[in-house]
């Protein structure tokens, strides 16, 4: 009986574990190994350089800039996403008619490919031509058309990047919040109502929010990691195989060009950067987790 359970366990877990080992842990280990070698255009390097790649990447202005930019980006996008998705969840959860319809409508963008959304944003919604959707709207108000993605001063490209990201992600976090909202027992609300708590802010502050603590921590953490791992919409909106401008350049996009770009593949430096980025993400996540879990 026991061996049967063990067999079943491995039958189900085995393929996944093998995949994880082969396609996640092995590459991580290999990448860490490469980060100590001069690994240009090779995955089997011979020239050991110690911490050379780390010194290199940590004194590389472009890499440090991208980490800095995305720390600021995270500080903006994480609270924005959390607040907006929470508001959506509260609204959709309260609504009495067509609740499933609205839930689906807001969730659907999450099912859209980042690449497709990026191209729609870049070439149609925020295209620089007068007939672009955003420029048409500006035209109604008598404003001049803008180049959007191409406008650096003021940095309008952020409008394109941030709206694309919000549109793609809000629905997913909204679903997480709705699930958590539905787990808050209704008797708490009834008790509060009997005790004279006013519906609205007071109930939200003392019952809903504490009930959402677990979901909040999860959404914040996922969001934070996601912000540092930004790639798809940035690469597809601002970059191409020939290059990427030095602003709004996510660390992963910079590392992608460094280690896999078309000009020359420096896998040693790229891997060192990946390790540094992983450490930064781990550190920020731990810190935020510590702050969030502190008892109130």
């Amino acid at each position: 009986m026991r061996s049967r359970t063990t067999r079943t366990f491995w039958l189900f877990v085995g393929p996944f574990a093998v995949g994880l080992l082969l396609f996640t842990y092995l590459p991580i280990a290999w990448s860490s190994y490469l980060s100590f070698f001069d690994a240009r255009n090779t995955v089997t390097p011979t020239e050991f350089v110690g911490l050379g790649n780390y010194v290199d990447i940590l004194t590389d202005r472009a890499f440090l800039d991208s980490i800095g930019t995305f720390t600021v980006f995270a500080a903006f996008i994480v609270p924005t996403t959390v607040v907006l998705s929470l508001v959506l969840a509260l609204l959709v959860n309260r609504i009495r008619v067509a609740r499933a319809f609205f839930r689906s409508v807001f969730f659907l963008p999450f099912a859209c490919s980042y690449v497709v959304a990026s191209l729609v944003w870049k070439m149609s919604l925020f295209s620089g031509v007068d007939s672009g959707v955003a420029n048409t709207v500006l035209g109604w108000f008598g404003a001049d058309p803008q180049a959007w993605v191409g406008t650096v001063d003021p940095p309008l490209y952020w409008v394109v990047l941030v709206t694309a990201r919000l549109w793609l992600q809000l629905g997913f976090y909204m679903i997480l919040f709705i699930a958590a909202l539905q787990r808050i027992p209704t008797h708490l609300y009834e008790a509060a109502w009997i005790d004279g708590a006013s519906p609205g802010w007071q109930t939200f502050r003392h019952i809903t929010l504490p009930g959402l603590r677990g979901a909040l921590v999860a959404v914040l953490t996922l969001n934070l990691i996601n912000a540092y791992q930004a790639f798809d919409e940035f690469y597809n909106i601002l970059g191409d195989s020939r290059g990427y401008p030095p602003f709004a350049r996510p660390p992963l996009v910079y590392l992608y060009y460094t280690s896999l770009g078309s000009g020359g593949q420096d896998l040693g430096r790229g891997s060192a950067g990946a390790v540094v980025l992983a450490l930064v993400i781990a550190l920020v996540t731990l810190l935020s987790g510590r702050v969030l879990r502190r008892p109130t």
Partner: protein, 412 residues
């Protein structure tokens, strides 16, 4: 017990099969033993794919399988060369790192007495440490196309200096029609090299041992790009490599490739003129960037000699194929001087002008010793100067440091 064993062995066999499938996945699946695999990037012009398949099928020496590679071809080649014997033959531009890591083989012995016939600067661009690693296939170049009628209307003469270009772009900028289109990145990608040449500078010094832009004039000329940015079209749905912006009337001038000449003349007829990139002043020169994919042989290939023989047959001996390849689909220039005369689209009009620009001012757009990292540092600097208004001198100092580092590394 019996059942368990057979299940276990089934698992083991399945696992091994899976691994074996991974190990054997070198791109050789389904190809005949001894066939040569030849990779091309996906040319945008109709007919090229059929043509190169036809050439391959006509080779008497071996079976040749052509693979057409859409998407990010250069990265794909880089990755393939690291571990694989496939492709045997491919098109690319020589990189010093490939030579250092012995991923490609020298091809000097293929040229014989035709060496003098190939455009010299092209051969030099594919040469590392005195040895040739790629046989140039065709010449690509980029020029400034302009709408004659719009320039006339605005009373602007075709610009022959950088200042005239800026002035023309600003005066042609009428709101609905912008002055100039040089890519959605504000010209950083395609104008960096011509701007350097316009000031008599370059990526690298003459001997390739130092950066070629350690000069206050570099700051001056990239400052001009900042000025030019006010009159550029940005946010176009198509990029500089597509003639759309000019053909659809969104700009009066566009910097784009020779390959678009047929489409542009078909759409605009006589209302189009061409210019090289202008010079900054008397110390600089008019220029056009010249690039060429070259046929190269993978050192890990199963039969390097057979691959070399095929390259010699196609890119040295079969002159009629080379002419057709360069000129029959979109416009390119043949890589050999003796073939240039037979290229019909280039005998008169703008085509003829462009041949003149290449002869007089063709410059190598991506020298083998100019590394990707150095290029990123320089284009970051140019982007900050031209688009964000950063201090040119300080930005270029940082780029120079990286470039020096990279050049030193190549000779370590």
């Amino acid at each position: 017990m019996g059942v368990e064993l057979s299940r276990r062995s089934f698992g083991v066999v399945a696992g091994l099969l899976g691994l074996a499938a991974c190990g054997a996945n070198t791109g050789r699946g389904g190809s005949a033993e001894g066939a040569l695999r030849h990779w091309y990037h996906a040319y945008g012009e109709d007919g090229v794919q059929d043509a190169v398949r036809r050439y391959a099928a006509a080779y008497p020496g071996a079976r040749v399988e052509v693979q057409w590679n859409p998407g990010d071809y250069d990265s794909k080649v880089l990755t393939a060369l690291q571990t694989s014997g496939v492709p045997d033959v491919f098109e690319a531009q020589v990189k010093v790192d490939w030579v250092r890591q012995r991923q490609v083989v020298p091809l000097d012995d293929l040229l014989g007495d035709t060496r003098g016939d190939f455009v010299r600067t092209l051969l030099e661009s594919q040469t590392v440490d005195g040895r040739l690693y790629g046989i140039p296939q065709a010449i690509d170049t980029q020029v400034l196309y302009y709408r004659k009628s719009l320039l006339d209307k605005a009373g602007v003469t075709p610009p022959r200096t950088v200042d005239e270009l800026i002035d023309a772009a600003k005066r042609l900028n009428t709101g609905a029609v912008r002055g100039l289109f040089a890519g959605n990145d504000g010209g950083v990608g395609v104008l960096t090299a011509p701007l350097l040449w316009s000031a008599g500078l370059d990526f690298l010094s003459q001997d390739g041992k130092a950066p070629g832009f350690d000069d206050p004039r570099a700051a001056t000329v990239f400052g001009k790009l900042r000025d030019l940015n006010q009159a550029l079209l940005l946010g176009s749905p198509t990029d500089w490599s597509d003639p759309g912006a000019l053909v659809d009337g969104r700009v009066a001038m566009q910097w784009t490739g020779l390959w678009n000449l047929p489409k542009i003349t078909a759409a605009l007829g006589d209302d189009v003129g061409v210019l090289p990139f202008p010079r900054l002043d008397a110390a600089g020169a008019e220029s056009v960037p010249v690039g060429a994919y070259s046929a190269m042989v993978n050192a890990r290939g199963a039969d390097v000699e057979a691959a070399k023989a095929y390259v010699r047959w196609l890119w040295v001996e079969k002159a009629e194929y080379q002419t057709e390849f360069a000129t029959a689909f979109g416009a390119h220039l043949p890589a050999r001087e003796s073939l240039a005369a037979s290229a019909r689209p280039l005998r008169d009009g703008p085509g003829k002008d462009i041949v003149g620009f290449v002869t007089r001012g063709g410059r190598i757009a991506s020298p083998a010793r100019w590394s990707a990292r150095a290029n990123t540092a320089l284009s970051d600097a140019v982007a900050r100067i031209a688009r964000q208004g950063a201090d040119p001198a300080a930005e270029l100092r940082a780029a120079l440091d990286v470039a020096r580092d990279e050049i030193a590394r190549l000779d370590r």
